[in-house]
């Protein structure tokens, strides 16, 4: 018996183990030969012989199974090893593009306001004087029109200079309460280091009954929004002037580059201007036929947000489809 067990445990691969299996357990194998002797054994001893034989067979089988498992594991391991590759060669094979940083920033802005139960609204890019200026309390010859160098069409139409006309269209089409944002491209006839003829704005408008919407509410949501966008920054409101809001304010955040100490980006003031806002001017409500309402509005430039958040140095580079810039956002 012992020598048979040794034979099994000495098998070095599955192939030789199989050979041994045939030699031992096969029809013409060693065990079969032993069992064949059974017929020559006299009655009374037969039982004991058979029992002994069965025991030996079971023991051999157990040794065999164990050896089989060991060799099988070895073989799998060898096969796996043979499939080994240098994974570090494959770091660059995936091909993925990227969202444009301005659009991705706009997404982040929209996400916030949608989560705050604002509706997204839109309007045409080719506008008329009424929706872009007149209804927004910018009558003809208003000096504030100088601030917005406008593209005009031969038939008197114009390219919207801000997303504010969407406010007017939305108010004309629906009734208060209103809670909306209008993201989109806007156009001004200007081109230099900090101006491009097209850029993106997000406009916000909230209208409810008279006496309900206040400057304090505006302060609350914009402070929260700016924390969403820029993290832990200080927020400062400064009185300003826009024809369509009164009172109006510009909103600054503490400089995210120098933490308010003063650097080149914030012109050594420690503050970065990021938003304009205010309480909707009664003349705007008048132009859309609203009475007994109150509201706030705000507007921001998406490029400015994207440039600050990602430290993009040149505005114009955002409109060139430059993959060297875009691939950094993969």
């Amino acid at each position: 018996m012992k020598h048979l067990e040794d034979k099994i445990t000495q098998a070095s691969n599955l192939e030789s183990l199989e050979k041994i299996r045939v030699e031992l357990f096969g029809k013409k194998g060693a065990l079969a030969a032993e069992f064949a002797k059974l017929k020559d054994i006299p009655g009374p001893e037969k039982k004991a012989f058979a029992e002994g034989l069965n025991k030996s067979k079971a023991a051999l089988q157990a040794v065999f199974d164990k050896q089989y498992e060991i060799l099988k594991a070895k073989e799998i391991e060898a096969m796996l090893k043979s499939e080994e590759i240098d994974v570090s060669l494959y770091g660059n094979v995936a091909q993925k593009g990227a969202l444009h940083p301005v659009m991705e920033t706009m997404d982040k802005i929209i996400d916030y306001f949608v989560a705050m139960n604002f509706a997204v609204e839109s309007g045409p890019m080719v506008e008329d004087d009424f929706h872009n200026f007149e209804a927004l309390n910018l009558p003809k010859y208003h000096p504030a029109r100088d601030m917005q160098d406008t593209f005009y069409f031969n038939d008197g139409g114009l390219l919207r200079t801000h997303t504010s006309p969407v406010q007017i269209r939305t108010m004309l089409q629906s009734k208060p309460p209103i809670r909306m944002i209008a993201p989109g491209s806007v156009f001004r006839r200007d081109y230099d280091l900090t101006h491009t003829p097209m850029f993106h704005q997000v406009e916000g408008l909230v209208v409810d009954e008279e006496g309900k919407v206040s400057f304090a509410n505006l302060k609350s949501i914009l402070t929260d929004f700016l924390h969403h966008m820029f993290g832990d920054v200080e927020v400062r409101f400064r009185p300003s002037f826009f024809p369509f809001t009164e009172p109006s304010a510009e909103v600054d955040i503490s400089c995210i580059f120098c933490k308010g100490d003063g650097c080149r980006v914030c012109s050594h003031t420690g503050w970065l201007e990021v938003l304009g806002c205010g309480i909707v001017d009664p003349n705007v409500f008048k132009s859309v036929g609203y009475e007994g309402v109150s509201g706030y509005a705000f507007g921001l430039g998406v490029e400015r947000f994207a440039m600050l958040i990602h430290q993009i140095p040149d505005l114009r580079s955002l409109f060139e489809g430059d993959i060297r810039l875009l691939e950094q956002f993969r």
Partner: protein
Amino acid sequence: MIVTRGWLSEFIDLEDISDEKLYETFNSIGLEVDSIKRVDIPSKVVVGKIISCQKHPDADKLNVCQIDVGSGTRQIVCGAANVVDAEFVAVAMIGATLPADFEIKFATLRGVDSEGMVCASSEIGLPSMGKGIMILDDSIGELEVGKELRQYDKINDTIIELELTANRGDCLSIHGVARDLSVAFNKELKHIEYKDIATEKLGIARVADLRIKGEIDANLCYKLAITEDFKSQILIDLRLAMVGVELDGILANILNYSTHATGVILRAYDAKSILGDSDKMLLQVYSEEKGIVSISSNDNILSIVGVNQNDAVVAGDSSTMLLLESSYIDPDILVEAISQTDMQKDDFYYKTSRGSESDLASGMSYLSNLLSVDDSYRYYEGHLSVESKWEPTHISVDSKEISLLIGQEIERNKIITILKNLQFGMKGREDNKFTVTVPRFRHDIKNIQDITEEIVRIIGINNIDAKRLSFVESNRLTDTTNRYLFKKSLRNRAVSAGLYENVSYLFSHRDTLLKYGFDVVDEKLDLANPIAEDLNTLRTTLLPNLLDAAKRNVNYNEKSIGLFEIGAMFDSQREQREVLSVLFSGQNATESVLNSGKPKMIDFGSFVQKLGSIIGEFSLVKCTQSNGLIHPYQSADIIYRGQKCGYLSKLHPVVQEEYGIEDTFIAQIDMDSLLPIHIDVTPISKFQGVYKDLSVVVDSSLPYSEVDKEISSLELEILKRWYPVDIYSDESLGEKQSLTIRFYIQSMHKTLQDEDIEETISAIMDRLEQSCQATLR
């Protein structure tokens, strides 16, 4: 608007106010500070008195001066021509360090010793005042020889640039800014004492007469003065330079200075050139159009109020008889009138169009005070003036309403105090309601919200507590919101397909569009004032913009360029629609071990795959679109949910060469047709299905879409789907090719028998034989 601390101090006491406090206060009351700069004249720059000045023996352009600098006399060589006229000058002593680390040392110039330097303003940290050295006078304070110039507060000043909003014309003067500060600091403005000016025995009426024709909208005041000459004052020139006003003649500088200080529009006429040979002038004031007020004499227009002045009668430094004019015109009326004309406007128009100061007497007094440096300056008795009718604006105010707008209780008394300080009039102060009268210099204030803005800026927005707004909850997922959310997912799929998002201008070059056979916006509807020739029209396709971007990337050495853009484009009638445009140029994959660094160029199939992973399943038929970018034999209409939604094409090789790019594919797809639709699920069969291939020989010119159409028209219930899997041609097939189609056959009701399958296949074969002249391979 630029102000200086020293100049402001003429009008308001700022002694206990630091520069930092000034900066903070300006910002908090809505006068945004663009920059704040402290002039810092270096030490050891002192007042020097020139005792003598002689030509340098060996250099024509140099002078050798003996200068008393308090501690003794120094010999200093000076190259400036105007030193010969100077008495008091700024002397940088040996050891002084001027800006840009310029250290003054003992020097010998062409053999003559020089102990110091006579300075120009720009050499000691002051703004440049033109050629030559700075000649001092006591306008900056009493001159003491040897005293350091940095001790003179009037010039060692702080320069503050304010960015004024368009409504604040009242702050376009030093006085106006001081007036706003006086409210913020709760300090009264200083009372300015002017010196008495000698008068001639003659009255102004003896020389000039004013005649008004009809209604006019301007206020005018005239005075007549005689003088022998004008004296320049260093303080005037320096301050003008500090606030960015270009220096001119002495009289012009004084006029500009007075206007910048008081906000009153001040002009001077050479009275003698108006008089000519006569001894009396008749000034006629009339208005042919509302808002355009002309002043003329002898049919000669002298000026248009608030707009310009006739050069021929402008007084200069040689004038001896001056007709001084102060004027005011309502800016709203003026701006509207001017916009209808192409009248030439001078520098004052910026002020008059935003609202100049209407207190004409204040301007005239300030001006005369500066002109009358000695007894030779005398007035003619009296003045000539005209005033337009003006009704002040009254606004009824409810302090509760103001509190509601602000969102915080503001006490009634506080509101009243602020408004009074801002020089608003008050009437009927019972309860919360009262009526305020708006001062004339605040023509921008028209309603209660304007008043609220005044309250907000004076109490400071940062003193208002933020409060959450409670609002009616509602489903605000509008169509636009959903469209935006869909576009966002589409953009993310495009990114996963290896494309970069592009953003380009809404503009295009009309010539480029025409060259490639695109529609262009009708000329009658096109841009009137484009910003540049190559952006002179609205785009009617996004593809040239993507091609431009591809070209730029090739220049940057990119080899695989995948771009997409979702954006607006227009048709010839300028109707806007939104499209998804895709471009892929160059290598189909990144260079890697997978392709031994030599990836294949993008091809039709790979491009279709990319498109499919963005928009989902579609089919292609022969392209019906035609433009110069399209390759006539590798282009297709995209059929999406049974409708044509756009096209894709290989870029025409000629265009490819023009742009200098590698193999390129383009697509343009209408966004509207991609929007998600409602989907109902078809039940899935429980029975085993079977794949079956069929190879047929058809004409090489027959597009697969025709074969597809025929199979589809059979409407076989158990034929679930089919698709081409192979195309084969060889010489034996001649003009024909072998097409292998794979069919998936499955029944909803039973396991298919061989005869069911054969029946289906033979039905297909029959149809293809009949309609497509197909034969079995």
